[in-house]
């Protein structure tokens, strides 16, 4: 399907699928010419064009360079909708609502922990439950879960997980308003009950790494990053709670499209007008899941600190593990953006895309306001991850958005075949990277070559001007769900 699409070159880093048929706007893909054959080999560009059919979509249906085939919306998709004429679509957020990334930095250097990595990874594996239906040590009752979804990371801090100072460095300060706990199903509460503080499976992970390269001294210094510094990346989301919210509302929206007479090229794009009762209920429930994910990562970050202290037998002051920033990359938010020279409130969907607000934006923490909002782009477990910052170009072109990761190059099935007969864990260990996974199969499915080279994705965003490179991080150890 993707091969039938005609692409028009806008620049070396931007391509357009012109408006045709019932598309409301054109679709635009950020990519280099080199990346295009791979991108066009699957259904993702067609999905970007499908999103352009949705009512009230503003400017373009956009896709970041890590675009790949999703459900309804492509992964790497950004779409903003007019609040009066537009829609909200659970498929534009995804099942893992507020899946995101936290970056932590320490006072330690690589040489101080390299010899102790095996022990550290073992402690992390014990402290941060991973894997399938992994049950955390924290079991909350339904009543308390309502407090969690109302309080987000703030609830976690007030219950002893981390400190108040973390909150300033989380998107939305770790808690979004407009949540409606009553719009969340009993099933979602039940799925969320035993999963707080857990990573989950799939591509979720916790990685210990170090600052390998700095591209922007001023920005790195503002973020407190220095060469060889030990860092931690936490990648996870709202667990079963969010998956169930998405599932529940996809069914509701499926009925809504008939009710509101919305024509869709794919059932998974089910949506409802932003002002409708269905959309408002989804927004209220989705925000509960957003807060669940903020609480989840806050608890994991706290348990990570404890694991460091236990494994290294050092106090927290000496380790100095602190939150640099935390971003969401599966989310829909009401934001103010300039459209045709006019400030307009929009419903921005980012599905596998990261907010990348420019320097000076009031939602960027005061300490980082002169450099722009930090953006955290995890790569695969063998290569590298990146720290970027948002730019004015992103504000003008992409509603302040950029990429979110490497994007898979192989299916899980193919990755398992490629890993067959190899000891992936041993191979990584020989490169100085210690990996623990819930099962061997988990590690095999996530082999480094199953992912695209994240540096190509990041460079494309930097060259297109929608973010700026600050630093590269390389892995020392990882736990996988």
């Amino acid at each position: 399907m993707g091969n039938d699409l005609k692409l028009k070159k806008i620049s070396d880093y931007l391509w357009e699928i012109p408006k045709s048929g019932k598309m409301q706007v054109p679709a635009r893909i950020y990519a280099t010419r080199h990346m295009l054959p791979k991108i066009l080999s699957d259904n993702a560009p067609q999905q970007a064009a499908n999103v352009a059919h949705l009512p009230g979509i503003v400017n373009y249906s956009m896709a970041m360079p890590d675009i790949h085939w999703g459900y309804g919306f492509p992964i790497g998709g950004v779409a903003a909708f007019d609040l009066d004429r537009g829609v909200i679509s659970p498929g534009g957020v995804g099942y893992d609502i507020n899946c995101g990334v936290r970056l932590m930095a320490s006072k330690l250097t690589r040489d101080q922990i390299a010899p102790r990595m095996q022990n550290l990874v073992a402690h992390l594996f014990d402290s941060v439950p991973t894997g399938v239906g992994a049950s955390g040590k924290l079991h909350v009752k339904n009543k308390d879960l309502q407090r969690v979804v109302a309080g987000g990371a703030k609830w976690a801090v007030s219950n002893g997980y981390g400190s108040e100072s973390d909150l300033e460095y989380i998107e939305e300060n770790g808690r979004i308003d407009g949540f409606e706990p009553d719009f969340v199903s009993e099933k979602a509460y039940k799925r969320g009950q035993k999963q707080l503080g857990t990573l989950g499976s799939g591509n979720h992970f916790l990685e210990v790494g170090y600052v390998a390269e700095i591209y922007d001294e001023q920005a790195a210094s503002a973020l407190g990053l220095f060469p060889d510094q030990v860092t931690v990346i936490i990648h996870c989301g709202s667990r079963g709670f969010g998956y169930q919210v998405c599932d529940d509302f996809l069914a509701l929206m499926d009925a809504a499209i008939k009710k509101y007479g919305i024509e869709l090229p794919d059932r998974q794009l089910a949506c409802a007008p932003v002002q409708s009762n269905e959309a408002q209920r989804y927004l209220g429930a989705m925000r509960c899941a957003i807060n669940y994910a903020f609480a989840n990562r806050q608890i994991i970050a706290h348990n990570t600190k404890l694991a460091f202290e236990a494994a290294l037998r050092q106090g927290s002051e000496k380790i100095g593990l602190r939150t640099v920033y935390e971003v969401a990359h599966n989310i829909a938010k009401i934001e103010m953006h300039e459209v045709n020279g006019k400030k307009t409130k929009l419903c921005v969907h980012r599905k596998g895309a990261t907010r990348a607000f420019a320097p000076g934006h009031t939602e960027v923490p005061q300490a980082y306001r002169h450099i722009g909002q930090p953006v955290l782009i995890p790569g695969d477990m063998g290569r590298y991850s990146y720290v970027l910052v948002g730019t004015e170009t992103a504000m003008q072109e992409t509603f302040g958005s950029t990429c979110h990761g490497a994007g898979r190059a192989m299916s899980r099935n193919k990755a398992k075949k490629v890993a067959h007969g190899r000891d992936v864990r041993q191979e990584l260990e020989e490169q100085g990277i210690y990996v623990r996974g819930a099962s061997r199969r988990t590690i095999d499915e996530e082999i480094p070559e199953a992912y695209k080279d994240v540096s190509e994705v990041v460079d494309t965003c930097a060259n297109a001007g929608i973010s700026r490179k600050v630093a590269q991080l390389r892995p020392l150890g990882c736990i996988k769900g």
Binding site: W69, V132, Q193, S201, Y243, D247, D254, S411, N413, S439
Partner: protein, 158 residues
Amino acid sequence: MYIAQVVVRYRLQIQAIKVSLPIVRQIDHTGDIGLVVTAHTLQQLFEHAARAMFEVIGELGNVQTQQRVELSVEADDLESLFVRWLSELNFRHITDELMFCQFHILSIADGQLHAEIQGEPIDANRHTIYTEVKAITYHHLRVEKVSEGWQAQFIFDM
């Protein structure tokens, strides 16, 4: 379209089949896993799809039929009923921490399904769980009558 149809991966234990069918095929989706299940009857289709989903979730060789659960789901159309059936099984698996290995559809008609399923509580020492199915998606979903009987194509979000 990039759906590489891959070799037969699972052979289910089915006693009542007269003709050998390619019962379950795995389809490649860049991020996730999809299956194409073929069966003689609609009832079998739902049963085989359930078993196939649990084959993706974990190793079923060791799972015993200690516990019996009855459940009902309903939906407006057949495709939604199919998604709800698998979603309900996944929900019970996750929240009650059970692994299921046997699935028996007691009745399926007019958008209503009643079933009896069997399995046992997950025991980390005996059971291998490979992965978690986040959801059963509507993406490229098909449940239809084919010349061999019935066929369903469905993709999991992993």
